[in-house]
């Protein structure tokens, strides 16, 4: 059996494959949140958006038979949630962190409510590209079955990096995030910029959710997301609001999240739940190491309430 010949190599291989599979939702949510936070607002509600995206993608894919239509629906749902967040936040004296918490609860509740009839049926899933065709080792082939969404996410990261740096659109978002007054003085509506940034952020987070229900784990149930959304929001802080760092950080987190199942597959089951908590512990540890009470973080948008 190949399993025996690989021996302990199964674990790093599974972690590697897991890093690619599990990191995709982290990647999309963190890139989306990166856009929103660069515009000077934080959206903690992306946890709810992720779950809503997963549910609507599954539902639309089941009804239409096309998983890509599901992905689109998830994105649109996410953008609507983003618009809701931005809309409420643009009222005077409303706190964006609190609105995020509210939308986290609303999104999860709404997804569970509307998704009740979707637990039983099986929807069409997203296809994967087989990059491991040259290998005979089944574990390696499994690890190299890569979803297109992951590749799209990987492509978005440098694109976003470039857009922030070199385009007018990126400059506007950064201006709104660094100094709302400056953006206003330039004659732009800060609220409108933030509305768009939050909607795009929600769109990406919704797509991240569609990956959960349509590829990995690839079904809809109420335990589908347990904090991936909020972990990804924390990850943006760790990544210093840099889309490329978001990519590397997402891969690291995906690997950490894959550790529990990987160890279980070679028969190490004790401490399974603790290994499953690895991404949260890692997030917390990284935040402890990288944050400082004395100075604001380098790269932090000045208007962001969370780095006050």
């Amino acid at each position: 059996m190949a399993d025996a010949s690989l021996g302990l190599w199964t674990v790093p291989l599974a972690v590697f494959g897991g890093a690619i599979r599990v990191s995709t939702p982290f990647l999309f949510v963190s890139l989306g949140e990166c856009i929103t936070e660069r515009s000077g607002r934080i959206n903690l509600g992306l946890e709810g958006t992720l779950v809503m995206g997963a549910m609507s993608a599954y539902g639309i894919s089941y009804l239409s038979g096309s998983p890509w239509l599901g992905v689109l629906a998830a994105g649109i749902t996410g953008a609507l949630f983003g618009a809701l967040h931005a809309g409420i936040c643009s009222l005077p004296r409303v706190n964006d962190i609190a609105v995020g918490i509210a939308l986290m609860l609303l999104g999860t509740g709404l997804a569970f409510f509307l998704g009740k009839p979707l637990i039983e049926p099986t929807a069409a899933r997203l296809p994967a590209i087989d990059f491991g065709w040259w290998s005979d080792v089944p574990q390696l082939r499994a690890a190299l079955r890569i979803n297109v969404l992951f590749l799209i996410g990987v492509a978005i990261a440098p694109l976003l990096y470039w857009a922030f740096k070199a385009t007018r659109w990126g400059l506007l978002i950064r201006t709104a995030g660094e100094s709302a007054d400056a953006a206003r003085a330039m004659g732009h509506s800060v609220l409108l910029i933030r509305l768009r940034a939050t909607m795009v952020g929600g769109f990406l987070a919704g797509i991240g959710g569609s990956f959960l229900s349509l590829f990995y784990p690839g079904s809809w149930n109420e335990g589908l997301s347990s904090g991936q959304g909020i972990t990804a929001v924390a990850l943006v802080i760790f990544a210093r609001w840099d889309p490329m760092l978001c990519l590397w950080a997402s891969l690291a987190f995906g690997g950490a999240a894959a550790l529990g199942p990987a160890l279980q597959s070679v028969g190490i089951t004790s401490g399974y739940h603790l290994f499953n908590a690895a991404p949260y512990i890692l997030t917390l540890a990284i935040m402890i190491i990288t944050c400082s009470p004395k100075r604001t973080l380098t790269g932090a948008p000045a208007e962001l309430s969370i780095t006050r």
Binding site: L91, R93, G109, F113, I237, Y272, L274, R308
Partner: protein, 369 residues
């Protein structure tokens, strides 16, 4: 600096405390009832519309919600039983809010409190019930308290955002609970639902005489009143509110902000830990995954709806306890999914936050003051 101070107070949704005149104070207090009330009505209307889209009659919905929450003696008891942990988990958000902190990890402190209380009870098997119960209260409060102190300490000494860290700690607490309950602390006899051993019937805290409502409600009421007195009628509470309003001013007058943050976070966490202890000692009788029933998350909503005022938390907790108590009836009579309570809670939360924009803007209230 002053605008910054005002912002940080509003960030936590704390009602401005200083009122120049009596008339204005009455005007303001009418506002604090009228605006959340209107938000609640608006949320119920939207939820009714949502349910109508789902093909159910909204009037039936309102009737069953009322009936399931406050219609009979049984539903009142169900409501009050659920209100008890909600008061305590709401305090876990409301106390740090006085310092301008947004803590949303009450669920984690509840779970750790439940685990600590259960461990204490299991370690003291055979002792007199009153000893076991006291030990459970102390262990639960210390466990939950330290859990939230962790978030407070990280904020104070490492600058880690407390909202995110407290939420991450919820997932870590859940993992610890699952690990212990399925591993080292598992009762071999619990087959389908991994649980710890039972704390023993003699050690359970019973019901208030003449009712089916357990003593946890009294714990909650006492904690809320104590928190109110602490915040509004002691030097400590005053110092906390000063620090919440303006950290630099607090440092200039010589307040030790770090100590304040840690103490308030400990008190907040110990409230949620006490809620966990109550759920074990009055309802479940043991620790298992049933404890993660979302009381911690609903508590956040209670605190915001009560505008972080410990006394206002009591009626709001009863109201939201009622909403969750009516969930079962909505499921049975109207065929709505059990998540409908979550949806309604989310809608209420959104409305309450949006209504923050209305304060000081209602014409006829302004005229009065």
């Amino acid at each position: 600096m002053t605008t910054e101070a005002a912002e940080s107070v509003e960030a936590a949704g704390v009602a401005p405390a200083a009122d120049p005149g009596f008339l204005q104070r009455t005007g303001a207090s009418i506002e604090y009832i009228l605006i959340p009330g209107a938000a609640l009505v608006g949320a119920l209307a939207v939820f009714g519309g949502f349910v109508a889209l789902y093909g159910k009659n909204p009037l039936d919905l309102y009737f069953y919600m009322y009936y399931g929450a406050f219609g009979t003696a049984f539903s009142w008891q169900n409501t009050l039983t659920r209100a008890a942990p909600l008061i305590l988990t709401a305090l876990c958000t409301a106390l740090p809010a006085q310092l301008g902190m947004v803590i949303i990890g009450g669920e984690g402190a509840l779970l750790i409190g439940a685990l600590s209380a259960t461990s204490a009870a299991l370690a003291l098997q055979g002792a007199a019930p009153i000893v076991v119960q006291t030990a459970m209260v102390i262990a639960g409060m210390i466990g939950g308290g330290l859990w939230i102190t962790l978030s407070g300490g990280l904020r104070q000494y490492r600058g880690v955002n407390e909202t995110i860290s407290s939420l991450l700690l919820v997932y870590i607490a859940l993992a610890i609970l699952n690990h212990l309950v399925e591993g080292p602390m598992r009762d071999p006899a619990s087959l389908n639902k991994p649980s710890t051993r039972e704390i023993g019937a003699a050690n359970m805290i019973g019901s208030i005489p003449g009712t089916d409502v357990h003593w946890g409600l009294v714990f909650g009421l006492v904690a809320a009143v104590a928190a109110y007195v602490l915040i509004y009628h002691t030097t400590f509470g005053f110092a906390a509110r000063v620090a919440g309003g303006n950290i630099r001013a607090a440092k200039i007058v010589g307040l030790s902000v770090g100590k304040l943050i840690l103490t308030v976070c400990f008190l907040a966490g110990s409230c949620a830990g006490l809620a966990g202890m109550i759920e074990v000692a009055a309802v479940q009788g043991r620790t298992n995954a049933n404890l993660a029933a979302g009381y911690g998350f609903t508590g956040i909503l209670v605190a915001f709806l009560a505008r972080q005022n410990p006394l206002a938390i009591i009626p709001v907790a009863i109201l939201l306890g009622g909403i969750s108590a009516s969930g079962g009836l909505l499921q049975r009579r109207l065929g709505l999914p059990d998540a409908s309570v979550l949806v309604l809670q989310g809608i209420i939360f959104v409305f309450v936050l949006a209504s923050d924009a209305l304060y000081g803007r209602i014409g006829f209230l302004k005229g009065k003051s």
